[in-house]
Amino acid sequence: MQGRSGKLWAQWGLVLGLPLLALLGALAFTTLVLLAVGSPPYPPYWLLFAGVLSSPVRLADMLMLAAPLLLCSSGLTLTFAAGLYNLGIEGQVIIGAVFAMVPLRWWPELSPVALWLLTFGMGALGGMSWALLTAWLRVYGRVNEIFAGLGLNFVATGVTLYLVLGPWKREGSASTSGTEPLDQAIRLPTIEGLRLAPLAPLLALVLLVLVWWLLRQTRWGLSLRATGLNAVAAERFAVPSRRRMIEAMAGCGVLAGLAGTIQVLAVFHTLTPSISSGIGLLALLVTLLVQAHPLLILPVVLFFALLSVGSTQLPLQLQIDSSIGGVLQGALVLCMLLLRGLQQRWSQARVWDNE
């Protein structure tokens, strides 16, 4: 009993202690960078954190960035659990956005609710089909999902470029800057004075809970994790691991497609070739950082969104390049990976000592 609760505490110490330690390391590193460029470190941090949390407008922007990021991170949790590195998530977001544009362009006269349902449905379908393409290549074509995904990311960008410069271009122009903006009436409704469409973060939260429940509370989740740990062994225990991989990819694709839909319907209100704006890649960092632990995703997503929104203030108020926010994000992930590596080495060494 004693040993068991001790073990639990140790486990918890790792789950929470490591990220905190990593955060300290990342802050130290970023501070060094700031000092190296000759900036006193305190004002930038103040601006990054308090600057966002004290302004309703920026808080709203942060939530609107967090929503698609949360969806992508939830999706990647599924694929990580299945042992897949879904680097194709960017493409899934993009194709989700492209599919979402279809009802918006073809049936804008539908009642808004019906139109939005259809749009989200199409977005999910788009993301899913793009993910299934990768899954199919992986499972039946023996193409590593990393390479298949990266390749399909380029194809997805190509598809949007073709549409934005070709059939969907704005009247009288051909520019990669995007399609005609959506009518105010068919955008996802926002709170007066803010760019916050509450439906978007709400949807993301509900789906995060769903992913957590599926992974942790269902037999399906158990077999998915078994697949991720060792697909061959899982197969021996009658787990249909190929099928689980495909399902995980499909699920991730659905979530990524929804993220793309939010980008179109509630953030940019137009389709641009860079519609995903790197959210899929940022979500990969998030998932790496929390080792795909579904419930730790939310704080990290909020933190990353805060850094991204807050960092635009840096050049404006302190003449510091805004990429310092990215430095902190990157340093955090690196520190975390480093610490986790060290910790594994250390616990292995202890096992050998005990023997």
Binding site: L8, W12, L59, L161, G172, S175, R195, R216, L295, T312
Partner: protein, 433 residues
């Protein structure tokens, strides 16, 4: 045990959320908190309070802001605007300039123009300039959201089309002349008779400008070259898809420039914000194949490769900005769609001319003289290149035989502003239908 662990996470989570909401909900108090905790850092700005309040004291700075699509030091479009803003800041007392540059999907993927404008307003900006055609929709929406701030959207037509709210004006210099002069310089100096235009994206502005460059080249080739070195002039355009290179999204202007050079074009005219055409022309010349170039937008652009630079048509935003900002500050600002003439007495007078042309070292003295004759002709009206017959690439008529357009009259200005297609004999796709 797993679910127990998860319960704990949920517990921690609730705590975190409580902390977060505690931090964020009292939105009314932060200004006090800000000044309390960072007296030094934020004393000058005091963000939260500036937006709605009128000027506190008579001496308070009038702040104007600028949103730039490229980096402020791009030796092109954005730098010309940046220098224009500095011009104002130097000459007007108690005026301060704040800006955000690189507002484009490649450099700031998650940021929209409206967000950036909100930040500038929070900094206290009462007058905001946005400098890209791309910001048209965003500027309009931001102007609606901030009716107390005056907006100037560069190179838009919202005032012309009636879409602009009352606090939004449009401004552009008549670069059509700058491009005619550039085209003329190219035609005077080419040895192969092949001129190429590195175009940005296709819209009303860029069609207008590529046509102007062609008209200038055609005129000077036909009228000012005594012994043309080639049978005829060819003029090609390739569009990269945006105002500057975005890897993976646009065509690479370096590649486009090289393709042109390999296809025997010996003068490159740049229509994009950055200087790749000039840089590649220089490389080619150093490698033994002489190629000249005409960069664009910024008076100092030739500096990157003086030896191959025939000259640069440039914008001079300072005087117009000063006028607009002074008007807004004194409450006499009026919504206008302005398309500013050069100062024909001296197009390079930085206090009076909205556009200019700086001749480059590579343009031979004889050709400089010829070019000056051309400029003088434009100035006194003896040369009007909008003279029919002119046909579009698809064969439809732009100007009938004998028909002329007079820039400066509203009706003719609109016809020039909204040219539908490239003119006949420009090689390249310009129509979008």
């Amino acid at each position: 045990m797993k679910s127990l662990a998860d319960c704990r996470i949920i517990g921690i989570w609730t705590l975190l959320l409580v902390v977060l909401t505690a931090c964020s909900s009292p939105a009314a108090t932060p200004p006090a908190a800000v000044s309390e905790e960072t007296p030094a850092a934020n004393a000058a700005d005091t963000p939260e309070t500036t937006a709605e309040e009128p000027e506190v004291a008579g001496d308070a700075d009038y702040i104007f802001g600028m949103v730039m699509v490229g980096p402020y030091n791009d030796a092109g479009w954005s730098q010309a605007h940046y220098e224009g803003a500095l011009y104002v800041e130097e000459r007007l007392d108690h005026v301060r300039f704040v800006y955000v540059d690189k507002v484009n999907p490649a450099d700031r993927p998650n940021i929209t123009v409206q967000q950036v404008i909100d930040d500038l307003v929070e900094q206290g900006a009462e007058f905001i300039i946005t400098n890209s055609d791309d910001f048209k929709d965003g500027t309009r929406e931001a102007a609606q959201a901030h009716p107390d701030v005056t907006f100037l959207h560069i190179s838009g037509d919202d005032v012309l089309t009636g879409k602009a709210p009352d606090n939004l004006g449009n401004l552009m210099g008549r670069m059509i002349y700058g491009k005619m002069i550039a085209g003329c310089a190219a035609a005077l100096q080419t040895e192969t008779g092949n001129i190429a235009y590195v175009g940005p994206l296709i819209n009303d502005e860029t069609r207008r400008l590529v046509n102007s460059a062609y008209l200038g080249a055609r005129y000077c080739w036909d009228n000012l070259r005594e012994e043309p070195p080639a049978d005829d002039l060819t003029f090609s355009v390739t569009w990269i898809g945006f105002w500057f290179n975005i890897p993976g999204v646009t065509l690479d202007p370096t590649q486009v420039a090289n393709d042109f050079i390999n296809a025997d074009n010996d003068v490159l005219i740049s229509g994009i914000d950055t200087t790749e055409a000039l840089v590649e022309a220089n490389k080619s010349t150093e490698a033994g194949t002489p190629v000249f170039a005409l960069p664009y937008d910024f008076a100092g652009a030739c500096a990157q490769a003086e030896d191959v630079c025939l000259g640069v048509p440039y914008f001079n935003w300072g005087p117009a900005y000063m006028q607009e900002i002074t008007a807004a500050r004194t409450g006499t600002w009026e919504q206008q769609w302005q398309w500013l003439e050069p100062d024909w007495a001296d197009i390079n007078n930085l206090d009076t001319s909205a556009i200019g042309f700086a001749m480059g070292q590579a343009l031979t003295p004889e050709n400089q003289e010829q070019l000056q004759t051309f400029i003088d002709g434009l100035a006194d009206g003896s040369i009007n290149l909008f003279t029919g017959p002119l046909t579009y690439n698809d064969g439809s008529v732009f100007l009938e035989e004998g028909e002329t357009l007079t820039p400066g009259t509203p009706e003719d200005d609109e016809r020039i502003w909204y040219m539908q297609d490239c003119l006949e004999s420009i090689q390249g796709q310009c129509a979008t239908e």
